[in-house]
């Protein structure tokens, strides 16, 4: 079983739309140091004082170094299911791919549906299916990067599993974390899922074209966000109509 993600029989799968059989390799840094037991029977206390996610963090650092070496910027996109991550990505790829190469890692529990949507934009994409897993981790990202083999200077979007809790804890080796909420989800989302919003570098409020039809208070949402995470920037856009997408592209341009 993988030390980092706990995946085993459930089976993480990394695949691209044209290659559906690449398994999660687990061949990196899973070596175990075997210290042979000495002949002793007295119970004793062993001090460890190590971070629980030390292995994930080491792998994430390795991913980060590998990306920086090739001037690749990776952005980790997180949201609840249905906030519009894939739609925002489709639009972003169409609008920006003439400026720099864009590639995508898609994370979902099952199916290649999102990877197929991205593939139709022409961008290279691999799909990570986490099976029972509720988040991507650094090992999955490592394997996905192997399969994706992005061009130097690329902008990579990592679309995490739709979940506002678990992905917040796992460093993937990304350059920045973006949290997307949609106006149909409710103004108080940042207060309900503070850990996720506290981790964000940018919060994208999506589906602003629906504001006239829903009870969503954008100013109050910004206040909640400022209370949880004063350093996060906020942009309000509609990926469907393209409204204010320039703000999102401006952030990407400054960040990447």
């Amino acid at each position: 079983m993988c030390a980092t993600c706990g995946c085993g029989e459930a089976g993480v799968r990394v695949s691209s739309p044209h290659d559906h059989d690449h398994n999660h390799g687990h061949d990196q840094d899973h070596g175990h140091q075997h210290v042979h037991p000495q002949e002793h029977a007295q119970p004793r206390t062993i001090t460890l004082e190590q971070k629980v996610l030390a292995k994930n963090d080491q792998l994430a650092e390795r991913n980060r170094y590998r990306l920086a070496e090739r001037h690749i910027v990776a952005v980790n996109l997180m949201s609840s299911p249905g906030a519009g991550k894939t739609t925002l990505l489709e639009r972003t790829i169409r609008d920006l791919s003439s400026d720099r190469p864009i590639a995508v890692i898609e994370g979902d529990q099952e199916t290649l549906l999102d990877a197929d949507r991205i593939r139709r934009t022409g961008a290279p994409v691999v799909q990570v299916n986490t099976g029972a897993g509720c988040h991507l981790d650094a090992a999955m990202t490592h394997d996905a990067l192997d399969a994706l083999d992005p061009a130097a200077g690329s902008l990579i979007f990592i679309e995490n599993v739709g979940n506002l809790v678990c992905p917040a804890l796992f460093d993937l080796g990304e350059s920045g974390k973006v949290v997307i909420i949609s106006v149909t989800e409710g103004t108080d989302k940042p207060l309900k899922y503070p850990y996720m919003f506290a981790a964000a570098d940018l919060v994208v409020v999506n589906k602003t074209d629906l504001l006239p039809y829903v009870d969503f208070d954008l100013a109050a949402c910004r206040r909640h966000l400022a209370a949880i995470n004063p350093r996060a920037e906020v942009v309000a856009v509609s990926a469907t109509t393209g409204d204010h997408l320039g703000d999102w592209y401006g952030w990407l341009g400054a960040w990447a």
Partner: protein, 109 residues
């Protein structure tokens, strides 16, 4: 259910270090700002240790409250919810504790 993969990481690290000796207990330090639910971690621990040298081990969770130092007014405070604010209203605070997620020690037989 990130507690499952987090607990798996704990048990893997502990079993590796135990090198075949039975593990009697494991002590972990968990900050209240980490989004880890102690009850969920305890439940996962019982499941994950099955069939390992840590089967039957006791899990001690040292839950660390969140504390901040305010850079505006200088006050040190303990906070009870995930909104990291000083009592003076300033958000310009250092989180002094509450983000720990560490394996402290273990007892082997």
């Amino acid at each position: 259910m990130h507690e499952l993969s987090i607990t798996q990481s704990i048990v893997d690290a502990v079993c590796e270090r135990a090198a075949g000796r039975p593990v009697l207990s494991v002590k972990v330090r968990v900050g209240t700002l980490t989004a880890v639910v102690p009850e969920a971690m305890r439940f996962c621990f019982g499941v994950v240790v099955e069939g390992t040298v840590a089967e039957g081990a006791r899990l001690d969770i040292d839950l660390r409250p969140a504390a901040t130092h305010c850079r505006t007014c200088g006050a040190d405070s303990e906070i009870t919810d995930p909104i990291v604010l000083c009592r003076c209203g300033s958000a310009d605070v250092d989180v002094v504790s509450g983000r720990e997620l560490q394996i402290v020690s273990m007892r082997v037989g």
